[in-house]
C-alpha cells in the first residue's frame, strides 16, 4: 500500500548540485535534500543580517528573504508531520526562529530610530499621556503651595522640608546680602558648582524615582512630586521674605524650566504606568502594563535628554549670565519645550506610534 504524499505548494525545484537525492533511502530525507539549498541560502542571508551587514547584501537576497522565510516555515510545518529526523527538525525550528527575528525585528538601528524619535515620536508619546501630565502638574502645584504655606505659618517647617546639603547658606534668618550672594554670578561661583552638581544629581534621581514608583499604582509618585515641590515652595518663601523672589526665580529658571519639565514628565510617566496597572480595562494586567510601559519609556528617554540639556545649561550659562539673560534663557527653553511637545509630529502618526 502506498502512503499518500504531502506536496509542498512552495516546493522548489531540486538544485543541480545535489545529485544524490534519489540515493536517500527515506522519503523524509528526500524532502529535506530537495529543500536544503533554500534553507542554507536563508541561513546565509540571516547570518549576514545578524552581523549587521545588511547593506552588503545583494538586492535579490533581500527581496527573496520573506519568500525564503515563508518556505522554511511551511517546510517546518510539513516536516513536523512527516519526518522523525530530530536534527533536521531542530535545525528548521532554529532557522525559522532566527529568520523570524530578522523579518519581524526592530526595523531601524538606534540612530535612525532616534531621528524619528526627535521628529515626532517623543512629542506624540507626551501628548498621549496628557491626562497623567495634568495629574502630575496638579500634584506639583499643590506641593509648591503646601511648602510655601507651611513655612509661612511656622518657620521650623523649613528645616524639615529642605535638607541641610541643599540649603547651604539659604536658611531663615540669613541676611539679604548672604542670600543674594548664593545667587551670584561667575566671580563668586566657587561654592555654587558643588550646589549645582548636587541639584542635578537630586533632580535626576527624583525623575527616575518618580517613574519607578509608578509600579506601586502611581500613588508614591504623586507623594514624591508633592514633597519635592514643597522644598521649592519653602525656598521661594525664604527668598520672598527678603524681597529676592524675582532674582531667585531668574537664577532657577535658566535650567529649572527644563529640569522641572523633566520631573513633570517623569512623574506623569510613572502615574501613567501606575494608572494602567490599577485600571487595565479590557486587557490583562501584564499586557496593559507592557503597553503603558512602552509609552512611558519614550517619555522617560526624553526626560533623560532634557536632564542632559539641563546639566549643560547648569554648568555653563547659569554662572556667567546676568539677571535678564537668565530669565531670557529660562523662558526661551520653556517655550521651546512646550512648542516641541505641542506642535512637532502632528502628521505621520503611524510611523513610530505603535
Amino acid at each position: 500500500m502506498k502512503p499518500p504524499v504531502l506536496r509542498n505548494p512552495f516546493a522548489a525545484k531540486p538544485l543541480p548540485e545535489q545529485p544524490d537525492i534519489e540515493a536517500a533511502a527515506l522519503r523524509s530525507d528526500r524532502f529535506r535534500l530537495e529543500r536544503e539549498g533554500e534553507w542554507r541560502r536563508l541561513e546565509r542571508i540571516v547570518a549576514r543580517m545578524e552581523r549587521g551587514r545588511i547593506r552588503g547584501l545583494p538586492d535579490e537576497d533581500i527581496a527573496d528573504l520573506p519568500v525564503l522565510y515563508r518556505q522554511a516555515a511551511s517546510s517546518l510545518a510539513v516536516a513536523r508531520e512527516t519526518s522523525l529526523d530530530a536534527a533536521t527538525l531542530a535545525f528548521l525550528e532554529d532557522l525559522v526562529e532566527r529568520a523570524w527575528y530578522q523579518v519581524y525585528g526592530p526595523r531601524n538601528g538606534l540612530f535612525r530610530w532616534l531621528g524619528g524619535f526627535f521628529r515626532g515620536g517623543w512629542s506624540r508619546a507626551v501628548r498621549a499621556i496628557w491626562l497623567d501630565i495634568v495629574l502630575a502638574f496638579a500634584a506639583m502645584a499643590a506641593g509648591v503651595a503646601a511648602g510655601w504655606l507651611l513655612v509661612a505659618r511656622n518657620v521650623e517647617w523649613y528645616f524639615t522640608l529642605v535638607p541641610g546639603a541643599m540649603a547651604g547658606g539659604r536658611v531663615p534668618g540669613a541676611s539679604r546680602a548672604d542670600l543674594a550672594e548664593t545667587l551670584g554670578v561667575a566671580d563668586s561661583a566657587g561654592g555654587l558648582s558643588a550646589f549645582a552638581a548636587y541639584l542635578f544629581y537630586n533632580n535626576a534621581s527624583v525623575c527616575i524615582l518618580a517613574f519607578a514608583l509608578g509600579f506601586a499604582f502611581g500613588v508614591p509618585t504623586l507623594l514624591l512630586l508633592i514633597y519635592n515641590m514643597a522644598m521649592l515652595g519653602a525656598m521661594a518663601w525664604l527668598f520672598n521674605s527678603v524681597g529676592l523672589l524675582p532674582e531667585f526665580m531668574a537664577w532657577l529658571s535658566v535650567h529649572g524650566t527644563t529640569e522641572f519639565a523633566a520631573i513633570l514628565l517623569a512623574g506623569a510617566a510613572g502615574v501613567h504606568v501606575g494608572r494602567n496597572m490599577a485600571f487595565p480595562g479590557e486587557a490583562s494586567i501584564l499586557a496593559a502594563t507592557a503597553q503603558a510601559g512602552n509609552r512611558a519609556a519614550l517619555v522617560m528617554l526624553g526626560c533623560v535628554f532634557m536632564l542632559i540639556v539641563a546639566a549643560i545649561l547648569e554648568a555653563f550659562p547659569r554662572q556667567l549670565a546676568g539677571f535678564e539673560a537668565r530669565v531670557l534663557i529660562g523662558v526661551f527653553m520653556l517655550i521651546a519645550w512646550v512648542a516641541l511637545f505641542a506642535l512637532v509630529g502632528r502628521r505621520g502618526r503611524a510611523e513610530t506610534a505603535s
Partner: protein, 306 residues
C-alpha cells in the same frame, strides 16, 4: 536522569505562533545565564571607562585637576565627561539590544537574546520587538541596580543605618523578581513586554540515511521484519539518532547489544555501526510511514495511537 533533564527543559519551553501560523517552540534563558551576561556586560563597560580615563591621563588631562581650573571651562568639560559616562552606561544596552541580534555582547557570549513576549487574546501570537520595548526594559535597570547603589553610597557618607537596610531590601526585591514568575521576567521585562530567550543557532546536520548508504557498502544487507520494528517508538528513534551522530564507540556497542537482545537476534560484532544505521533507517521508514497514516507511537511503552 534524562527524564528529569527533559522535564526541566520542558519547563523552559514556550510556544509562540508566528504571523504565518507556524508554532515555534522557544526556550527561555536560565536565570543563571542572564546573571552571567549582566556581569560580563558590566565588566566590558567598566573596562571601557577605565581605558578612557587612563588614556585621558596619559595625554595629560587629569580629571581631578580639571575642576579647579580657572573659569567655567574646566567644570564644563567635567560635566561633559560625566554625561558621556551616563550615556555609555545606558546607551550600551539600548544600542546593542536594538541591533539585529537583540543581544548585548555579554548576552551573545552566553548565547541568549531579547525577544518580544507574546501578548494578546491567546497570549501566544509572536510580536515584533520594538525600540520602545528595548528602551523601557533598560531604563528600569537604573531603578533595579543603580538606585540601591546610590542608597549605599549615601549611607556610606552619612552613616545612616536605615539607608543600608532600605537599599538592600530594594536590591533584593528586584533581583529576586525573576524567581517569582513563570517566565523569569525581571521588572524591566514586565514593563517592556519582553523576555529573554536562548538564541537559536543549531546547524544543519548530515543526512543519516545517506551516510548509512556509504558505510554499508560491501557489508551484509540487514532486513528487518514488522515484528522487530514495532517494538520501539519515536523516543527511542531519537535517542538512537543522537547516539549515531555522537559516534561514541562504547555507546554504540552497548546500544547495539541492547537492541539485538530486544529483537531476539544473535549478537554479532565488528559492524555495530552499520547494523545500527540500517536499523535506524528501517525503524524511521516504518514510523514515518505509520505517521503519514495518522498512527504515532511515542515510545516503547505505549501502543500506537490512532
Amino acid at each position: 536522569m534524562t527524564a528529569i533533564a527533559r522535564h526541566i527543559d520542558a519547563k523552559r519551553r514556550r510556544e509562540v505562533v508566528t504571523p504565518e501560523g507556524v508554532p515555534l517552540s522557544i526556550t527561555l534563558a536560565t536565570r543563571g545565564s542572564r546573571l552571567m551576561a549582566l556581569v560580563l556586560d558590566y565588566c566590558i563597560i567598566f573596562l571601557t571607562v577605565l581605558i578612557v580615563t587612563v588614556s585621558l591621563i596619559f595625554i595629560g588631562i587629569n580629571l581631578e585637576q580639571l575642576d579647579s581650573l580657572d573659569g567655567g571651562g574646566g567644570e564644563f568639560l567635567l560635566v561633559l565627561f560625566f554625561i558621556a559616562m551616563f550615556v555609555l552606561l545606558n546607551g550600551y544596552f539600548i544600542f546593542f539590544e536594538m541591533g539585529p541580534r537583540g543581544a548585548t555582547p555579554g548576552k551573545r557570549m552566553v548565547g541568549i537574546r531579547v525577544a518580544a513576549r507574546p501578548r494578546g487574546e491567546l497570549a501566544r501570537s509572536g510580536e515584533r520587538l520594538t525600540a520602545e520595548a528595548v528602551i523601557a526594559r533598560n531604563l528600569l535597570r537604573q531603578i533595579e541596580i543603580f538606585l540601591p547603589l546610590s542608597f549605599f553610597s549615601s549611607a556610606g557618607e552619612g552613616g545612616a543605618g536605615s539607608a543600608w537596610i532600605v537599599g538592600s531590601l530594594w536590591f533584593a526585591t528586584f533581583m529576586l523578581f525573576p524567581f517569582f514568575n513563570r517566565d523569569a521576567l525581571r521588572a524591566g521585562d514586565v514593563v517592556a513586554g519582553t523576555w529573554v530567550v536562548e538564541a537559536p543557532r543549531r546547524k544543519l546536520a548530515d543526512v543519516l540515511s545517506l551516510a548509512s548508504d556509504e558505510s554499508r557498502r560491501g557489508v551484509t544487507d540487514y532486513r528487518f521484519g514488522d515484528e522487530e520494528l514495532s517494538i520501539y517508538g519515536e523516543y527511542e528513534l531519537q535517542q538512537l539518532e543522537r547516539v549515531l551522530r555522537d559516534g561514541d564507540e562504547k555507546t554504540l556497542d552497548a546500544v547495539h547489544k541492547a537492541i539485538v537482545r530486544k529483537i531476539g537476534w544473535q549478537a554479532g560484532s565488528g559492524d555495530e555501526r552499520a547494523f545500527l544505521e540500517a536499523f535506524y533507517t528501517a525503524l524511521r521508514a516504518k514510523l514515518e510511514g505509520d505517521m503519514r497514516l495518522g498512527q504515532r507511537k511515542a515510545d516503547k511503552h505505549t501502543q500506537a495511537q490512532r
